[in-house]
């Protein structure tokens, strides 16, 4: 290890170090002043964001090539860091209101972001595993952060059991890949695959285990069972953060590992991916229809979004389409992040003590009593559906067009039909907000409000310049290969 190595991953070093500093500093911050911990963490995130942007997307390797910094990592890191800021903004008032105010929440969030950033740098399967653990462990604790609430504890336990189970599967897959080739580093694995010297059966089995493990993390049917319960049970700001962070990190690993290492296995993997994508879109959207609790509704919606993302990933091995496909996924992840944080910001303002205010029926009258919040929520629901003039529309447009480009018209058709189904449950929220009488109690907080309105503005604003956002994503991809 040299100073150059540390310099290459400077943002990550600063973030990880800062999380420890905040954890220690929190000991001296009085109980009623936990806003300081939140502010300190936010400052750290802003500094790290600055460092990340200053470094840019030039390709650099460090630590004997196990870590690789490039445009792909830059793009996703920005999503994670901005997501972290939104996560703090959503958490501060909520934790105070629900009498959960304990300082550990913010350092845990920072550690989880370190794990996600490490995942984007990973150029070695050992690092992939390490990053997976580093991001998962804090999320288990955050899911159970409402310790006196049994639902939260149950959510944490479920998340923990299935998450560590998934880690075990990933790990076994990595061990088999190591056995097949003698390498854990991605370039070494690529060379072995190209030369065709490795044991093909072990390669295939290892790749399949990795796929199953990442499917657990990203919530792909049939590995999604934990998601609705965990989303419902965890405190809402933690749910918002994990639904973006864990999913984006899981897809980052999937993209990096599969696109670089496993193109030659596509004959075997493509039908599996096709089936997983189709079943995820159908199951996620159909089960969402009958949900009455908004948190569960968004959990199933999040499963469905994973299905759309995976749909664009099916032609990953086709060299002509794969860069478009990755760019479309990166674009969609951005749209998903903004829309998700915005929607959860509205949900958090609606949530009352003892988990009241979480049914869809509770949103009656929101549109008339609080026009701005109602408008923001409408924009997010439309963006999730994929209605034009929102970022979600362009996201879905690019996903569908890469699926068609890759020759999977049937899959794109399934995606289109399930999108129509999804309009039913997303628009039901809008209908309840505007058409039914009611006076919902709303706990306004300026940071949460700011998150909701800013997210709404960006979701609409970026929809006018989708081309330049896609260019950014494409640049990120060019450096991936």
């Amino acid at each position: 290890m040299t100073i150059n190595d540390l310099n290459t991953i400077l943002p990550l070093v600063v973030l990880a170090g800062w999380s420890v500093v905040v954890l220690l500093a929190d000991l001296w911050i009085p109980k009623d002043r936990k806003g300081w911990t939140a502010a300190l963490s936010a400052v750290g995130l802003v500094v790290v964001l600055g460092l990340t942007l200053a470094r840019g997307g030039t390709v650099q390797k460090a630590f004997f090539g196990t870590v690789l910094v490039d445009g792909f990592a830059l793009y996703l890191d920005i999503i994670f860091l901005v997501g972290g800021l939104a996560g703090i903004a959503l958490a501060y008032d909520y934790l105070k209101r629900m009498e959960l105010e304990r300082g550990e929440y913010y350092p845990l969030l920072l550690i989880a972001i370190s794990g996600m950033m490490l995942m984007t740098y990973a150029n070695d399967l050992i690092i992939v595993f390490l990053a997976l653990e580093l991001l998962s462990l804090p999320l288990y604790i955050m899911a159970g952060f409402a310790r006196f609430n049994l639902q939260s504890e149950e959510a944490a336990l479920k998340y923990f059991l299935l998450g560590s189970f998934a880690s075990g599967l990933v790990l076994y897959g990595v061990a088999l890949l190591f056995g097949a080739s003698g390498h854990t580093d991605l370039p070494g694995l690529v060379n072995t695959m190209r030369a065709g010297t490795g044991n093909q059966a072990l390669f295939l089995f290892g790749a399949a285990l990795l796929l199953v493990g990442f499917s657990f993390k990203t919530g792909i049917v049939p590995f999604h069972m934990w998601m609705p319960d965990v989303y419902q049970g965890a405190p809402s700001p933690a749910t918002a953060f994990m639904s973006v962070g864990a999913k984006a990190a899981g897809f980052a690993a999937l993209m990096r590992v599969f696109v670089t290492v496993f193109p030659s296995l596509s004959d075997d993997l493509t039908p599996i991916l096709w089936a997983l994508a189709a079943i995820t879109m159908v199951v996620g959207n159909v089960l969402a229809i009958s949900q009455k609790n908004i948190k569960r509704l968004l959990a199933y919606s999040s499963i469905a979004q994973s299905g759309y993302l995976l749909m664009a990933f099916v032609p990953y091995a086709n060299a002509e389409v794969s860069s478009d496909s990755i760019a479309a996924m990166l674009f969609y992840l951005l749209a998903y992040t903004l829309t998700t944080f915005g929607a959860w910001a509205v949900i958090i303002q609606m949530e009352q003590q003892e988990r009241r205010g979480l049914e869809v029926a509770d949103y009656a009258g929101l549109g008339k009593r609080h026009p701005w919040l109602g408008l923001a929520m409408t924009i997010f629901m439309l963006s999730f559906t994929g209605v034009p003039l929102t970022l979600g529309f362009w996201g879905k447009f690019y996903l569908f067009s890469t699926a068609v480009e890759g020759g999977f018209v049937g899959l794109a058709l399934i995606g289109l039909l399930t999108s129509v189904v999804s309009a039913f449950y997303y628009l039901r929220v809008v209908v309840v907000m505007y058409m039914q009488p009611g006076d919902p109690p709303v706990k306004q907080n300026r940071w949460v409000n700011l998150t909701a309105l800013l997210a709404a503005a960006v979701v609409v604003g970026l929809a006018f310049i989708p081309g330049s956002v896609l260019d950014l994503a494409l640049q990120a991809v060019l450096q991936l290969q």
Binding site: I126, F129, L130, E133, L137, Y140, I141, G144, R147, L150, Q151, E153, E154, A155, A156, L157, K158, F160, L161, S164, F165, S167, G168, L169, L171, Y172, V174, A175, L176, F178, G179, G182, H183, T184, P228, D229, Q232, G233, Q291, K292, N293, R296
Partner: protein, 101 residues
């Protein structure tokens, strides 16, 4: 000398026992033990590959990292289980079923 395949079969069997434990046991402690068996099966696998096929440090470093990660995982898991046990006096997930729908 014991052939490599014996180690691989042994570790696959251990992994399957762990997998069965996670899926079939009702008791959370049992499920946690299943996860640990899975991780240790992987360690045996890595060490066998390392010593028979690929001399180098990769395999060893990986095993050390798996140890540490597994220990951290158990720490979090046991803390969660104890916290639930204090409240519900049970470690059987089926009896903790507040989340439905």
């Amino acid at each position: 000398m014991i052939p490599l395949s014996w180690y691989l079969i042994f570790s696959a069997a251990l992994f399957s026992i762990g997998l069965f434990g996670v899926l079939a046991r009702k008791n959370v402690i049992g499920m946690l033990m299943g996860v640990e068996l899975m991780l240790n099966a992987v360690n045996i696998n890595l060490l066998a590959f390392w010593s028979y096929l690929y001399a180098g440090v990769n395999g060893l470093v990986f095993v050390a990292i798996v140890f540490v990660a597994a220990a951290a995982e158990v720490a979090v898991g046991l803390a969660l289980i104890i916290s639930i046990y204090r409240r519900k006096r049970t470690v059987v997930p089926d009896e903790v079923d507040g989340l439905r729908g």
